[in-house]
Symmetry: C2
Subunit: 276 residues, 2 copies
């Protein structure tokens, strides 16, 4: 089924850099930087940019275990938010950690070109396939950047559309996996496949053996860590994300919140490494 192999990924490509990072720190953990304003510790709220103050401390405490950071754009959608996001990305890069912007964007041609500027700062992005190939072209054409296409998501309603059976017998999410594989001319495409549905993880992996997955839902959403690792990695490359399960692990611990987050990231790394 696959039209690409990992050998297509040039030495400048995102997945090449991600592999180096995974090897160097022995971790496939993606740390989701979703600084919910309502959950930022009180002592950081006086800061000029509380989300940036929070993220910086989380990065300090977790970067040795983080194959990448995954800020979700929804938590930065205001004037101060974009400043906090820029600072966060620069700081992560200062620690040699790539940044995957979880933006789930897609729009028609001239508009998607605007969204593609989000990749000027981040190393990779998540995108929504509903508008089809040309809507993703401005992302796909950035050969040095990673593009993770939403395939089967881990939320309760994820199946409303994604699990619909097509006349061909495939499910919609399976067709999306096949299309993403076709769209992978630059070796920079991955898929988002949730850990809350291990059977679906296995079937998508079988269908597209060479595409790295970003597997969310292992932390607060309670997904299956073994399935995430066994099926999520393509030739050793892939990401298993936890957001709230790491960054808010020390929510009730005052100024110790960051060190508790560091312990949670380390624990997840060890738990996942059992299956690698």
């Amino acid at each position: 089924m696959s039209t690409s192999s990992s050998s297509d990924v040039g030495s400048t490509g995102f997945f090449h850099r991600l592999r180096q990072r995974i090897d160097r720190i022995d971790s496939v953990v993606s740390v989701g930087l979703d600084p919910d304003p309502a959950r930022i510790p009180d002592h950081l709220r006086e800061h000029d940019l509380p989300r940036w103050a929070f993220n910086r401390r989380i990065i300090d405490a977790t970067h040795e275990h983080a194959a990448c950071y995954k800020p979700n754009a929804a938590f930065y959608e205001d004037g101060d938010g974009w400043r906090a996001l820029r600072e966060t990305i620069a700081y992560a890069h200062g620690k040699d950690v790539p940044v995957l912007l979880d933006a789930k964007r897609a729009d028609i041609g001239n508009t998607s070109r605007q969204y593609a500027h989000l990749l000027d700062h981040a190393d990779a992005i998540t995108v929504n396939p509903y508008l089809g190939r040309d809507s993703l072209e401005p992302f796909l054409s950035r050969a040095d950047k990673g593009v993770f296409v939403l395939c089967r998501t881990s939320n309760p309603g994820g199946g409303d559309l994604q699990d619909l059976e097509l006349a061909s017998g495939d499910r919609v999410y399976e067709r999306v996996a096949a299309l993403a594989d076709l769209w992978n001319a630059n070796g920079n495409v991955g898929l988002v496949v949730g850990a809350t549905t291990p059977d679906e993880l296995a079937s998508v992996r079988e269908q597209v053996p060479d595409l790295p997955f970003l597997v969310p839902g292992v932390g607060a959403q309670g997904g299956d860590a073994e399935a995430a690792v066994t099926h999520g990695l393509a030739d050793g490359v892939g990401l298993v994300n936890s957001s709230r399960g790491i960054i808010f692990a020390g929510e009730d611990r005052g100024e110790a919140f960051a060190s508790v987050a560091g312990e949670a990231a380390k624990r997840l790394k060890k738990r996942l490494n059992q299956y690698r």
Copy 2:
């Protein structure tokens, strides 16, 4: 097929307010505010916020013909951009014109709640259905705000997923229309259906007689104005959008750019009103 009727839309609902606006100015024109930085006139580039300077002049020239303004979020995704967007929305409201934020957002539960804050300022939003019902709930539950669900988009790849035939015989976009109709408990749901596919406009209208459509693609994309009006309106309520075809109509006219945009908006209003 429909589970709602226009009588469900309370006197505070978006579609009620939109109907009042349409009646007052005798127009169903949506003016897309997509201030592409590369196309903003030179004399505005020295301004502190060029996008806001541009939009303000466009609003001054077009508001008598605008049933709503539709800024696309992609053109505001940076620190200054969010300031420009806030000023733009406030200014449009000062002219009594509702604002539909074309954001095409969707994410899982706790994250979509963050995106739903975008509705604190705007009157309505576009959303992407790929993640299913719960991903849209934080928008749908804002009963006073409009939620336009992407159904059949006007871009060349719009059919890649949307036109796939389901085992039931429906196309994916037809199922999305049916789901959106089910999700319309608050009478605040509309659909985005492109004018570049008039047959599909007709078939979706037949399927969901009571949902107002936002029909893009009549301007620069060359869609069918008659089909947009005939099928896009539900009991007289709906929107036909032009972005570049209005705001850049006077692109080569220097400081006269805004008055040329005003003429273009008026011309589109008249063209559409032939079919109402």
